[in-house]
Each structure stands twice: as C-alpha cells, then as structure tokens.
Amino acid sequence: MAKSQLKRLKESLRSAGVTGQQKPKKAKNRRQQSSDSRVDKNVALQSIREEFNPFEIKTTKEKFGIIGQKKVKGKEGRPGLSKQIGEDNRKKTLLVEMQRRNKSGGIIDRRFGENDPTMTPEERMLERFAKEKQKRVRGGDIFNLDDEDELTHLGQSLGGLKDDFDRGDAMDNDSDDGNGPTLEFRKRLLETEEDEEEEEGQPERKKSKAEVMKEVISKSKFHKYERQKAKEDDEEEREKLDAEMGSLWALLGQKQPSTTRPAGQEDVSGTNNEPLGVRGSAAKELEKEVEAGKNDEYDKAVREMMFDARSKPSDRTKTEEEQAAEESERLKKLEDERQRRMRGEDVSDKENDNDQANPDSIDDEDYRGDHAVWGLGEGLRPAINPKYADMNPDELVDGDYEVSEDGYVDVDEAGVVEGDMSDDYDSEASSIAGSAASGDDSDEEGFLAELLPGTKDGKSTTTTGDKLAFTFPCPQSHQEFLEITKSIPVDDLPTVVQRIRVLYHPKLAEENKVKLANFSTVLLAHILHLANTPNPPFPVIDTLTRHLHALAKTYPIPVSQFIREHVVILQSTRISNPTPADLVLLTAISAIFPTSDHFHQVVTPALIVIHQHLSQTPPASHRDLAIGAYLITLSIRYQSLSKRFSPEALNYVYQAIALLSPSPFAKLPGTFPYHSRDNLRIKSAEFKAALKSKTTPIDKLKFSSISTGSIPPITLLTTFLSLLSHLSNLWTGLPSHSELFTPAISLLKPLKPLSTPLLTSLSTIITNNLSNRPPLQLHHHRPLPIPSNYPAFDESYNPERHPSSRDPDPDRREAKKLKAEIKREKKGAVRELRKDAQFISREKMKKDKQESREYHEKMRKIIARVQTEEGAEGNRWEREKRKMKK
C-alpha cells in the first residue's frame, strides 16, 4: 500500500535534512563554515518540490498489463527535468563553443585555486608560491635525456660500456652525464619530500603522469643494477668451476681432450674474469668462438659416451620351417589384399605405402616415355632359324648364367649384400649366387628357377655365348631396339633383353632408372611388333612378356601408361577388327595385372574394349568368329578368380552357335541379340562327315589361323561349345544361372552327338541350381525409423528476455543486438542534433533580443538626453517668447 502524499513529503524532508532532529553543534558549525549551506538547503528543497509536483511527472498509461513482463523503460518520465538537464549540458558545451566561435585567443585563468571557492585568498597565495618554487626547482628537466630508456647493443647497455671506458675521465669531467645520477637522485629526494608535503596538505591529490614515469624509471634502474651484480656473481662462480675442470676429468677417468686449452692459458687470457662489457667487440667475438668450440668438444664427448654401441645379438639363421611359414604368411597376405581389391574395398594407405615402398625407391617419378615408338618399327622379319625353331627356352637361360658369371654380377652382388632389393635381377643374381633370397624376391625366384635349367647344357651355352655380344646400348626407342636386334635371331632376344637389364640395372648408375623405364615400353612395343609378324614366335613372346612383367613391377606407371595408350588406339580405330598384336596385348594384360580387381586402371579399359567388340561386332566371317572366340577366352581368363558376369560373352557364344549350326532355328530361345546370316553355317554333310571321322576330341583352334584366315568351322563350333561349358562352370554360383543357360539346351539339341556331354552336364547343373535356389531376400535391413518431429521446447525459457536474445544462434543474436544498438544510437543522435539546433536558434534569438534591447535602451537614453536638453532649450525659448509677448 502506497504511503500518502503527506507522509512521503515528511519523509523526504527528513532525509534531506531540512526538518527533523537538529544536528549536533559541531557539525552545524562545520556546515556554517562552508559559505553555501543555505544554498544547499535551497537546492534540496527545490528538488523535493519538483519531485512532489504531479505536473512534472509524465506517465504513459498501460492498456493491458502483461504478466511476467519486466518494467517497461520510459513508462514514467520527467520531461521537464530531463529537458533542464539537456539545457544545462548544452549551456556548458554548446553555448561555450558558440560564444567562442569565430574568435581566437582569449586568456583562460588557470591560476591556482582561482576557481575554487573553498580556498581563502591566503591559501591561494601560499599554494601559488609553492608551485612557483617547484617549477623553478624542476628547471631544465624537459630536455634531460637521462630519463630516456637506455640504448643497448647485443643486450649490453651502451651507456654501461661508455661508463666503463670513461671511468678515468669521469672524475675530472663536470659534465651532466657524469653527475647525472647523483643530481637526479637528489632531485628525486626533494620531489618526494615535496610530494609528501603536498599529500599532507591535500590528501586526495593524484600523482601526475610525469611523477609516475619517474618512479618507474628509477625502479628499473635499480633492478638493472641488481641484475648486473647477479651476473657478475655467476661469472665468478663459473670461473671457479672452470678451474676445477681438470680434477673433474681426472674423476671421470679420462684424459683431458687435447683440444681443450691448458688451464694456464685460460688464466692468461683471463677471459671470464672481467665483465663482457669491458672488452672490445672483436675480442669478444673471438672469445665466444673459442668458448663455443670448447662446448662442442665437450658435447661431442658426452654424446659419444651416450651413443656407445651396445652389443646386440645377431640375427639367427631361420630354419626351413620358419621360412616356409613366413612364405605362406606372405602369400596369405597377398591373397587377402587381392580379395579386398576384388571386393572393391580401398586398400588402406599405409599398406599401400608398404607395397609401393620398394618400387618407389627405384622408380624415378619424372618418367619421360617415348610413346610414339609404337608403330615406327618396320622391317625386322625374323627368319626363324630352323636350328632354334623348337629350341627350349632353357638353353637361352644358360646364356644368362654365363653372363651372370661374367663380372656383371660382381657389381650386383655388392648390391645384394648391401640392401634388400626387390628388383628382379637382384633376385636372379642372388639365386645364382646361391644366397638366400629375401621374402620379396622369392616370387621371381620361381620365374628364374624355371629359366635356369635343372640340366645344364654346356654346349649350347658356349655357342650362344660366342655369337652374342655381351654389351648392348640401352635402347630408348623401338627404332633403336630394331637396330640392335637386326642381326640377332629371334630366339636370342630373351638373352639380349636379359643382358640389357643386367647392364643397366638401376643400382649401377643414377640415370639407369629412366633408361630402364623407357626400355620397358620399348620391350612392349617389340612384343607387339613380334606378334604382328605372320608367324609369331610364341615361346619368345612368352619369355619377353615375363620380362615385361618383371619390369612392370618396378616401373608400373610407364608400362601401364603405354598399355593404356595402346588400348585407346585400339578402341578408337580398330575395335571391330583387332590385330593379333592387340590380342597378344590383351593377353599380356591378363598376365601382368591382377584382373580380379574391382577396378584397375589398366584392366578395366581393356575389359571394356573386349566387351565392346563382343557386343558391337556382328560376326560376318569365320575369322570374326575366331577373334570373338579368342576374346571370350580372354574374358573368361580375366574373370577366372572374380567370376564376374558378362552378358556379352554369353550372347556372343549363343549367337555363334546359332550361326554355325547346320540348320537355322525356327524360333530362337533366350533373349540374346541375333543378326541372321547364313554364310557361316556348317554344311550338314560336312558336319556329319566330321562326326563320323572324329569321335575323339577335335583340334584346338590355332592362334595363327586368325591372321591366315583358314579356320575349319567345325573346330570353331567345338571351341564355342567348350567356351560355353567354361562359362557355365564359371558362373555356377550366379542365382540366375538356370535362366542364363536354359537357352543353351535348345540350341545344343540339333548338334546332338557332338554336344551330348555338354548337354548332360548343363542340364544337371541347371536342375541342381534350381533346386537349391532360395527366394530372393535382399532386404534384411533394420526398418527405417519414421521421422518424428517433436515441438522445439526451450528448457530455459525466460519471458523477461527479449525474443531476439532467445535466438539459439549466437552469431545471429549478436548481430541483432548490434543492429538494435545502431538503430537506437542513430535515433538518439538525431534527437540530440535536433535539440541542439533548437537550442542554438533559441540562444541566437536571445542574443538578438538582448542586443536589440540594448540598442533601444541606448537610443532611448540618447533621445531622452537630447530631448531633455532640447526641451530645456525649448522651454527657455518658450519662456523668453512668453516674456517677449508680455
């Protein structure tokens, strides 16, 4: 319940001290002392009056109260009061400025105590005198440099240096520098005394800035002195230690290092005795150097002691079982990795690094391959020497053996001894030398073991060795290689390649890496070149391909880049009619790269090319069919591990069988695309004849027949039948195996006697698969939760807070706050400016009025005076006139 107006008035009067209990006399006296106690009272009364004047208060009426809302700002205001305050403020600032406008100069009375009404004139005079005195004492302070921070060089004070040097002179010299500190000190003392005095007189007075600074400086000087002293102490201590060093060495039981100087010498130089600042800088440098050298010696000695090799047990030779276990472990790891790649999972980087570690160390990154090599090669038509025609590759390798005993190996053996190399030749060398192969090499060991015959044929070795040169330049383009091998029979090529690889082993010279990388592409180009010859020497190609494989391990990037480029050419120019070289290349890819990978930079494009041919080239001749059969074989070979599904291969087989079968089908089974064509069919008479004559398995297809084009259709048919059985075996696990191979049954029926075994096996597989096939259950997923939207509930809801400050985004909240503030400030500024303008005009008007009033007053006075004078004169004249009249 609010108190009544009267009660509140009484209360406020009492609190203001106007009414109520009388103050004690003492206090009263004190108040009376101050001249304006009455003024104070009046002010208090005035404020109370204003407070209780209801016309002074302006309230904004609230229509509906909101529960929980905090008190609205500005609901109650005193416009009169605030206006008054504003007016006063303006009078203090704006008015002063206005009056001073367009005026310069003017004297401000800054005399001490002039504006302080509490001081008596005596006090003022006293104060002023003190100040004057003070100022005189401080005299030339302004230009005294001593107060500045000291200049330093290399952490040493320059002033200190100078002091030391000038010490002698300082005594005679009466310069300020010399006497500075003492004078200053005295000054400071005086000041502090004065300060104290002042403080007594005026306890509230703050220290001036200059005083504070002075204090700080003096403190820092004191600290510096202390530091210097501590340093000197340290030096002394160290000197003592240095002197004892000899005895310490003796304690350690070691001879004093010869490089350290004898103690006497140190004494002579006396380096450490004196403070550094005293000496010249050159001497200091020298000393430092010496010191550093000394420290190095010491550190070295300590380090030597720390890293003294401890004896370790040497590696035990592994037993055979352990080696086998390790080998099987390694194979298992490789197989695991392959499986992972097949599933398309990423091989983790770490493992990959391990894989690549060895090749990377040998492989040079900036490989500059000469890819234009392919296709340039011309001419070499290797007439196959009948003597070597059916020669065993083993004999060629005997040559290798010779080579390896011929001094090249020595170099390489050094390499083997030094580090574990995975490169192929090393392993060869090591296996030849009979040393135990490291784990990485053993896979190639097989290759070599095969190259190295169990039965050594000495004779052929010598013959080969005699004919062939032992050194060859490392060919960097296919052209060069053709030049080199011009006079060499084809069957010796593996030997040549072997020797080049030995000769330019990357261990032997730095640039060999690049050379061999180039050579690997040259080798591939040559393989393709050989494959395009009319009668390709396959044993040689075989060996060369395996050489290429070994090179590809070391230089995977150049080799695969070259292959990819070749595949691009194949795809863009002769996809419908690949050359034997292309087929050999695709075969080589299947041997060199892991074809089971989910994705592989080389294998995937090759796969696309194979299937594009199968899908988009309708067979028009028996040769086409043979190429198709070869590609299907490759496709099967590519998928032999991963057992992936290829619709194109199966389509092609079906189509080929339908095209080859003696009589056309009335209604084709299945859904494979079929381009009808009758010129490929086997004549039924021929078919029957073939069946009668050969009940035994019929010929295999000859690769050479692709280029010659003479292909017996019956062989083609049997090839496709066997491919069909391979496909069926490959895809036994596919859930739609029966759908895939049911058409085959009706396709094979007309070819009965020939296809009987295949038919029976197919139908058993199909029925087996069917009976085992469960219904498809692909979606054993956890059921998806239904997305639910709860209402957003603010746990810490506070109605007092402004909605904008309830924003959960702090950035947005801040931005909003700032915006509001800007708005508020802007409004305020506008309002202030407006009021300023009003004030200015008001003042101006006041001034004008004042001026005009003064003017009129003045005029009035003058006129009055004149009038009185005139009046007097007039009166006199009137009087005289009257007189005259009388």
Binding site: N352, A550, H726, L776
Partner: protein, 577 residues
C-alpha cells in the same frame, strides 16, 4: 514455226486505230525492218550454235525488247537454250536473257489477252503465250540437266516467273491470285526430277516453301495431286521426297496467326470478303494433311518411315486438322516388326492423351515390345522415356508392373552395360512407386507349407503375352542379383542400389539413359594414373605356351591335361604353336 511477222505487219495500223498513245509508242519502238534477213539470221544462228557468244545473245535480247518485229528472235534464244551442245555458261546467259525478255513483255501486258484487242493483237499475244509456255516447260526440263549451277539458275528463273505471273497475268476478278498451274509444273519437276541434285531441292524448300505462306500452300496442293497419282513417281525418289517434305518448317498449327509473308501475293493484301483458300489457315492445314496422307499411302522404304515417325509428334501432328486420320498409319507401323513400333509409340501416346483415342490392349501391346532387340537398338533411351511415362500411374495393377519389372530384368541378362545402367534405376523407381512389387526382391516364407511348396523354379512365364497373367509377382528378380556381379565395376556398383535400403524417393532415369561403351571407355581413360597400378605379384609359369616338359609334345594333339595350369582357359582352348 509460226510466222508472226505477217501478223505484226498487219497489226501496225490497227494498233494505231485503237489508241493514239499506244500507237505513238509502238511507232517509236518498231521501225519497219525487212523481215527476210531476220529469218535468215535466226536460222543461221540456230543451225550454227557454236558461233553464239554472250554478246550476240545480249544483242538479240536488246533487239527483241526494242521492237515487236524481232519477236521471232525469242524462238532463236529458246533454241540456244534447249540446244544440248550449248555450253552451260551460254545456256545460263540465254536463259537469263529470255527471262528478262518475258518479264518485260509481261510488264507491257503483251502476254495477257485484252478483251478489246483486235484479232492481230490477240494472235500476237497468243503466240507469245505459247512461246512463254514452251520456254517454261524447257526450264522445267532444265532442272534435270547436269550441274547444280544450271539447275539452280533454272529454279530461280522459274520462281521469278511465278512472281511476275502473279503480278501481271492476274485475272481482274480475282483478288488473291497465285499461279497455281505454273507452280504445279515446277513442283512436279522438282519432285519427280531424278537427276536433280538433292541439295538444290533442299535449298529451294528452305528458301521458298518454308519461308512464304502462299508458296507453301501451293506446294502442298500440287504435291498432294502428284503423290496421289502414285505411279508417276519412281520408288527410288520416295525417300528424297519424304526428306524434302519433312524439311519444310514453319508449318501452320491451330495456334498460328494469319498469314503475312507472301512471295507472289502483294504484301499489303486487303483480306477479301470471302477468304480464298490460299489465305485460310484451315485450307492450308487440310492440304498438308492430304499431302501427308497420300504420301503415307505410297510404298515408303523403312528408312523414310522411321524419319516420318520420328517427326510425327513434334511437327506433323500439330498441323493436322484431323489427327485421327493418322491412326491407320500408326497402327500398321505399331504392328510392324523391328523398331517401328517403338517410334510410333509417341504418336499413339499423343493421340490417346490429346485426341481421346481409344486404344484397346495398350499395355499388353506395350509389353510385347520388350523383345530381345529392344535394349540393343538406338531408340532404347527414347523408348524408356516413354515407358516411364506409361508406367508412372500408381493406379496400375501390381501384377502388370511386376511383369514389366521381371521382363526388363530378364532382358538385363543379355543387355549391354549402357542399357543395364538405365534399367536398374528404372526398376528401382517402379519398386518404390508400387510397394506391393517389392515382394519380388524380398520374399520370406509365410509358413511351412509355403516353404514346402517352393521348388526353386521361376514361376514367371516368359512366353505369356498378357502381362496380367505372367505370374511375375510370384517370382523374384534373381537377374538383378546376377547383375550385381557384372564385369564393369560401375554397373555392378549401381546394381547394388536394389540391395540397399530404399531411402531415395526416385532416381532421375534421364541421367542414366545416354551411356554406351564409348562413353564408358572414355570415362575410364580420362582418369589419370595417380597411384601406381597394382601389378600381379605372381609371374605365371607360361602364358602362351605349355611348360617345357610337354613342349616337345606340341605337335601331338590331345596331350593336354596334366601339365596345364589349373583354370588356364587360354591354353586349354587355343593352340599357339
């Protein structure tokens, strides 16, 4: 050869009688010249064309213009033009000269019969008209001559005549006159011209028919007549005619504004009270319709049919005033084998949706289109787009959708990767839209009886043509499971979407439609080798040949099995000796 000289001679006084002004003009332009030498000149030049030069032709032209006495020279010029010995340059010059001559004569009204004219005047104009027609016919024949230059010139001159005729030979009672008869001759010459270059024809169609509304109308009415007399057109020309007609653009549809671009008719033509057919939109469209329909009655080659079907719904159908007249054609091509049904589908769809066509057994017929060739044709993506529209209705029975799903996944077993990539998201969308079909990819046994009944056989009946009776919904899409093991890594990965949880609302099939071996190969090759490719760690013992132990036995056949590496198909099947 008629002898107009005598008539001209006689004409002179009479002309003076008819009108004074004309007489003065003529007397100025026709000084009396001896007739005999002119005849002689004409004869000489026609007998000896080798002597003809460009200048002499120009001289002759000047002479003809100068006086009617020299009209006989027209015959001489026509003689030059028709003479096969004349060089092409001279031929063109004479043709141009003749054209200019006739144009001037026309502008002087010499070719039009005057009602008030005397007998001589009539005779002269008749004779001139005959010469004109003769020349016109020979120009039409010239279209058959060798060389595009001559053909082009002849065609340009002919079109020029059309313009002149419309201007000067216009009968007084007709307000919008177009020389249909003369233009008909040109159209016939062009359409049936076997030796005429196709480029010239196309250019003509683009320059005149596409651009001018009156020419287009006249062309279609003429072409309609010519095509309805089907025996007059050699079959070898049919495909050319089709491509010519299809190349015509700017066709009027129901929404087209009134015609405004004219070739022969005056541009600021006041629309007459009764709209003549040449200005009427409906008449225009009707003539087009008649032309196309009579064209379709001809025995068109497959190639042309394909192009007609392709442009059917975008260009032809909107022009037709009665689109249902195309139904016969569409139905016959729908029941035709090969890719034609795929192409006619869009036309039929438009008829059904926009013109209220009742098409019985639409879905069974659509189902029948899913044959072994579908996924291997070029029109695969076009068909799939339409199929998506047809199957987008959620009111279709689940059996039907299941049949389509099963059929498409069956086709996947023999499809190229580009098609599989499109089909898999398509099927995904179908599964998503028709939840009851998801039974096909996830089926659990309800009870033991159900399990006992299961024999692993596919209940789906492949040979059943009615999609409602195939029992596909009882089957499972094992085919898609197989496709998940496709050789192409991306295809295999994409196929896995069927196996994963169906969180995506639908796939934009459009993004998957245009893939092929070429694009896939390019995508693979574009990826640079960043990481060194993995190399097989194991070097095989033999790649192309048998291990050395049996190397001697290479000659003998059959000594295979024991030494060959396991699973080495290459060596099992091929002989690399």
């Amino acid at each position: 050869m008629p002898t107009p000289t005598s008539t001209k001679k006689r004409k002179q006084p009479s002309s003076g009688a008819t009108s004074a002004s004309k007489a003065t003009k003529k007397s100025k332009s026709k000084p009396p010249v001896a007739e005999v030498p002119k005849d002689a000149v004409a004869k000489r030049s026609s007998e000896n064309p080798v002597a003809v030069t460009q200048d002499s032709i120009l001289v002759l032209e000047e002479a003809i213009i100068e006086s009617p006495k020299n009209y006989n020279q027209i015959v001489t010029l026509i003689g030059y033009f028709n003479d096969p010995v004349t060089s092409p340059d001279l031929c063109i010059t004479s043709a141009v000269a003749l054209c200019r001559t006739f144009c001037r004569l026309m502008s002087k009204k010499r070719l039009s019969k005057k009602r008030t004219g005397s007998a001589e005047e009539v005779a002269v104009s008749t004779w001139l008209k005959e010469r004109y027609n003769e020349y016109f016919a020979s120009l039409c024949e010239a279209l058959e001559r060798e060389g595009p230059a001559v053909q082009n010139t002849a065609l340009t001159l002919l079109m020029r005549f059309i313009k002149e005729e419309a201007l000067y030979l216009k009968p007084s009672h007709e307000e919008a006159y177009f020389p249909h008869e003369s233009f008909g001759k040109i159209v016939k010459a062009v359409l049936t011209g076997e030796k005429m270059e196709e480029d010239v024809k196309m250019e003509w169609a683009e320059k005149y028919i596409t651009q001018y509304d009156d020419v287009r109308y006249s062309f279609f009415s003429a072409a309609g007549h010519i095509l309805s007399e089907s025996d007059s057109i050699p079959t070898s020309l049919l495909s050319q005619i089709v491509s010519l007609i299809l190349s015509i653009g700017n066709l009027p549809t129901a929404k087209t504004d009134d015609f405004s671009t004219f070739y022969a008719l005056p541009d600021d033509l006041e629309p007459p009270r009764k709209t003549p057919p040449i200005l009427s939109l409906t008449a225009h469209r009707r003539t087009y319709q008649t032309t196309i329909l009579s064209l379709l009655r001809l025995p068109l080659p497959d190639f042309s049919l394909k192009s007609i079907l392709n442009s059917l719904s975008p260009t032809i159908l909107p022009v037709f005033p009665q689109p249902h007249t195309l139904l016969d054609f569409l139905l016959s091509s729908y029941s035709h084998g090969g890719v034609l049904p795929l192409l006619s589908l869009s036309g039929i769809f438009e008829l059904i949706t926009k013109h209220n066509l009742d098409f019985p057994d639409f879905y069974p017929r659509l189902y029948a289109l899913l044959d072994r060739h579908l996924l291997h044709t070029r029109y695969r993506s076009q068909f799939l787009r339409l199929l998506e529209t047809f199957l987008s209705s959620t009111h279709l029975p689940a059996q039907l959708i299941a049949s389509f799903i099963k059929r498409l996944s069956r086709l996947c077993l023999s499809a190229p990767p580009g098609a599989i990539v499109a089909i898999v998201p398509f099927i995904y969308n179908l599964f998503q839209a028709h939840k009851s079909t998801t039974y096909m990819m996830h089926r659990e046994f309800v009870d033991e009886d159900d399990e006992a009944d299961w024999d692993g056989k596919d209940p789906f009946d492949e040979s059943e043509m009615d999609p409602m009776k195939t029992r596909a919904i009882e089957s499972c899409v094992w085919e898609l499971k197989s496709v998940m093991r496709h050789w192409h890594p991306n295809v295999a990965t994409l196929a896995r979407i069927v196996e994963e949880q169906f969180t995506k609302e639908r796939w934009a099939v459009e993004d998957f439609l245009d893939h092929g071996f070429g694009s896939m190969f390019e995508a693979e090759i574009k990826k640079d080798i960043k990481k060194a490719p993995v190399v097989e760690w194991d070097i095989p013992k033999r790649i192309f040949s048998y291990p050395p132990v049996t190397a001697e036995g290479d000659g003998k056949r059959g000594a295979v099995a024991p030494v060959v590496e396991k699973d080495n198909v290459l060596l099992e099947v091929w002989d690399f000796a």
